[in-house]
Symmetry: C2
Subunit: 249 residues, 2 copies
């Protein structure tokens, strides 16, 4: 992992760009911290470049830094200047066509959209964790937040360094990932937009039910995919503080 820039954004936030394995990323740490900071892996919507998401990522990172938490984003497979994921554009067009026609998308379409992304993104997040958790300013526990929910589920199911997950039920989840959800046992906080145009409510409720965690919360709010109210973000922030900090200090 190679840091390429460091910027003190303000009294709260330090922003550092890095690359590893040819992937670029940004690490945000609290400008002043007395302990190593637990780390939030900030997911992004599939296919969106990190540059496009940067203002929102930075705002989320600032909220985390105010709680003494570090946050990281990496360029997703197929996004920004990374090579496209084979078949991804076609798969997304097929999914969009089904949704716009008011149809339930076929399972094979959902699989084609999501699974190649999960298969690439999860090991990349794990490699990033290998590097980031060795930094002296970063603690030894991490949480996944937002982005493509299927990526969060697989990471939560397989990587013990992930101790909590804030999941956004804003995309279709393949049946195979639904099965993996049963093996998730860490605390999860699931956000659902009740009328999300990019997901099916009944499937989202089924997924929440499937999660194996004994501590799980579903927060459903009115509105579409992009209409998450500010107080829902604040609730999620408190969830991370409870599980990344409170059990330690």
């Amino acid at each position: 992992m190679h840091f390429t820039s460091e910027t003190r954004i303000d009294d709260i936030l330090v922003e550092r760009e890095f690359t590893f394995d040819g992937i670029s990323g940004v690490l945000w740490t609290p400008a002043s911290a007395s302990h190593p900071s637990p780390l939030i892996l900030m997911g992004q919507p599939g296919g969106f470049s990190m540059r496009r998401m940067l203002p929102r990522l930075r705002a989320r990172a600032r909220s985390s830094a105010e709680q003494g938490l570090a946050a990281v984003a990496i360029e997703q497979p197929g996004a920004g200047d990374r090579p496209p994921v084979p078949g991804a554009a076609q798969a997304r067009a097929d999914l969009r066509r089904a949704i716009e026609a008011g149809e339930q998308p076929a399972e094979e379409v959902i699989d084609r959209v999501i699974l190649p992304l999960v298969e690439r993104a999860v090991p990349e997040w794990q490699r990033a964790l290998d590097e980031l958790l060795t930094l002296p300013e970063i603690g030894d526990r991490a949480a996944f937040s937002g982005g493509v929910i299927s990526i969060g589920i697989r990471l939560a199911a397989i990587d013990p360094r992930i101790v909590a997950a804030g999941l956004f039920a804003g995309s279709y989840v393949p049946r195979t990932i639904l099965d993996e959800a049963r093996r998730v046992t860490i605390p999860v906080h699931v956000l659902l937009q009740w009328d999300d145009e990019g997901n099916d409510r009944q499937r989202a409720l089924e997924l929440f039910d499937a999660l194996g965690s004994t501590e799980k919360a579903l927060h459903a709010n009115m509105g579409g995919h992009t209409g998450v109210p500010p107080h829902a973000g604040e609730d999620a922030g408190r969830f991370f503080v409870r599980h990344l900090w409170d059990s330690r200090r």
Copy 2:
């Protein structure tokens, strides 16, 4: 309305007992307040006496008082030393029998348990509001919190003094009340225990969907009827502060 006692519990809370129309109640107000306090109507589980619930009601009232809010509880129809609601004991036994047999309770049983209680409790809450909102230390807006959800729904649907409702989806809701839910337009915050043994999850989700409010949130947590986690109560507290205070000050 006749106040019969006044006790300063501590630096935060003043507790006053009162009677009106032969019904006893308790009003809690902040021990120091610079503005008239908005009022939270604290519902209780059907059939439970106020005396039995007092420690929990007082704890909820203290949390409210810390936010400058007043809170009130009144003895429910058929509870404590009030005459029983005709047919209520038989109806509850019939409901319990169906639930214990793992059956979906018949609509007529749900109606018999809930509707007589709603028909008596709602006008009593309205009479209490008539009196309480004229007190100089109480503001002109109120919210309903907890207790029997069907009572909260009807109050929210018909009384404009109720500006927000925190509802606990912990009891069966008659079909007629489900229809009334469509006419609720105030902000609502619905708490659902995912495996509540006293309710049916699918009916609770249907109810949430039916509520006519443009601002509504569903917070579902794991566990049974009595397993609401502390952070869920804190989220509900912030909901009341947002809607009873923040739009004013």
